[in-house]
């Protein structure tokens, strides 16, 4: 919980701790994992519907 607040209070990424490249990399990892997660969920719920 407060880990996030600590990070935000540190003023990042705007103040240089995260360069644009790092921010893009983080967003790409996020997008990939969300897509994979969504795929798993849809597949599991479809299987349930078929039953």
């Amino acid at each position: 919980m407060n880990l996030i607040l600590d990070v935000i209070d540190a003023g990042v990424p705007a103040e240089g701790n995260g360069t644009t490249g790092i921010v893009i990399a983080v967003v790409v990892v996020l997008a990939v994992l969300v897509a994979v997660g969504a795929f798993c969920i849809v597949k599991a719920s479809k299987k349930k519907k078929d039953e």
Binding site: M1, N2, L3, I4, L5, D6, V7, I8, A10, V12, P13, N17, G18, I22, V23, A25, V26, V29, L30, L33, V34, V36, G37, A38, C40, I41, K43, A44, S45, K47, K48, K49
Partner: protein, 357 residues
């Protein structure tokens, strides 16, 4: 049937151990550093985001002992982090290993507690609640780098505990204890369409995460106050499942969401009100998981993954955009909490309590 306290409390301790290790590394090794933001944000993304795919994996390979192996992988990652000497490549490598171990243990905890729960929510709630105590303990240990060895001792005990719990469950339920295809979970909290239930409960988790993780608490200035905050969060998560088994999941879920609203809105400077609000708001944790398992009884790993994906989507915006001003925040709390309560009211069956009630 009585609640399986050994598995619930055992995995609460294992969850505690995992968070102690993770947060002692995050605070003690990665912070402060040039890549602190990226490491903290990636930790959040990987730890939460890996759980749905790992859930699928360990539903398939159901004798893989993800709890034991996860703790071992976590320890290896933490050791690399402590030896990284601020080397950025080693730091990112250790982060990936740590989050993989973390996600594996979480999935193991979910599968084990759901297997023994027989339709109750208590076991899963106790398991989930243990993590909050680990977060604060890890933060305190991480602040003093000479204490680096303590998380390893705690994790060693957790490994033994995970082995014992695994043996115990297989003795009770047989060799195919974790083959949920053969013996699905007995959770029956929901009688609504699968897709809409998943979507609504996912959004409820997002709301809880966004408000819970981003809520400004002006009163929280000392170590003791931070300990109290995390303790109340853990107590809230644990008691939510236990109360749901006694009074009914819908009643507890809806009331806890609504009761939390005034406490959170008027609590910026009033510690006790804020603590009660956080505890009340955290009570929905096990109820959302129970609802998701009800519609995905053969996929408890995926169901748990939905909740962690919701946590991820609720927390990630906070890394990029600050929580708005307190007055906007209060409006958000009211709207989101009421919507979350309505979502729970719609999804959760009013008649269901625990299997044994």
């Amino acid at each position: 049937m009585k609640a399986d306290k050994v598995t619930g409390i055992g995995y609460a301790f294992i969850h505690f151990a995992v968070e102690v290790m993770c947060f002692s590394v995050l605070i003690g090794v990665y912070n402060p550093g040039r890549y602190w933001w990226a490491l903290a944000c990636l930790f959040d993304i990987l730890a939460f985001g890996l759980q749905a795919p790992l859930g699928v994996l360990f539903e398939k390979y159901n004798n893989a002992k993800p709890g034991v192996w996860g703790l071992i992988i976590l320890s290896i990652g933490a050791l690399i982090a402590f030896l990284s000497n601020a080397n950025v490549i080693f730091q990112f490598a250790s982060l990936i290993i740590i989050t993989l171990g973390n996600a594996m243990v979480h999935i193991a905890g979910a599968l084990s507690t759901l297997r023994v729960s027989e339709g109750r929510l208590s076991e899963s709630a106790i398991f989930v609640g243990g993590g909050s105590f680990g977060v604060i303990t890890g933060r305190l240990i991480g602040a003093d780098r000479t204490l680096w060895w303590i998380p390893f001792i705690i994790t060693a005990v957790a490994i033994v505990m995970a082995i014992i719990i695994d043996i115990r469950i297989k003795r009770k339920y047989g060799r195919y204890a974790f083959s949920f295809d053969i013996e699905p979970c007995r959770q029956k909290l929901v009688n609504k369409p699968v897709g809409i239930t998943i979507l609504i409960l996912f959004l409820v988790v997002c709301v809880r995460a966004y408000i819970g993780y981003g809520l400004p608490t002006a009163w929280n200035k000392t170590v003791v106050q931070t300990i109290l905050l995390f303790s109340f969060m853990g107590i809230g998560k644990m008691s939510g499942g236990i109360l749901a088994d006694i009074f009914g999941a819908r009643k507890v879920g809806v009331i806890s969401c609504l009761v939390a609203v005034p406490m959170l809105v008027f609590s910026n400077n009033i510690m006790w009100l804020s603590l009660l609000g956080v505890a009340s708001f955290s009570m929905t944790m096990a109820i959302t998981l129970g609802g998701l398992v009800s519609v995905l009884p053969k996929h408890p790993g995926v169901a748990f993954g939905v909740t962690t994906l919701g946590l991820l989507m609720g927390t990630v915006p906070l890394f990029f955009v600050r929580m708005p001003s307190r007055s906007v925040c209060d409006v958000l709390i009211v709207i989101m909490s009421v919507l979350a309560a309505a979502g729970l009211w719609y999804c959760i069956d009013s008649k269901r309590k625990g299997e044994d009630n």
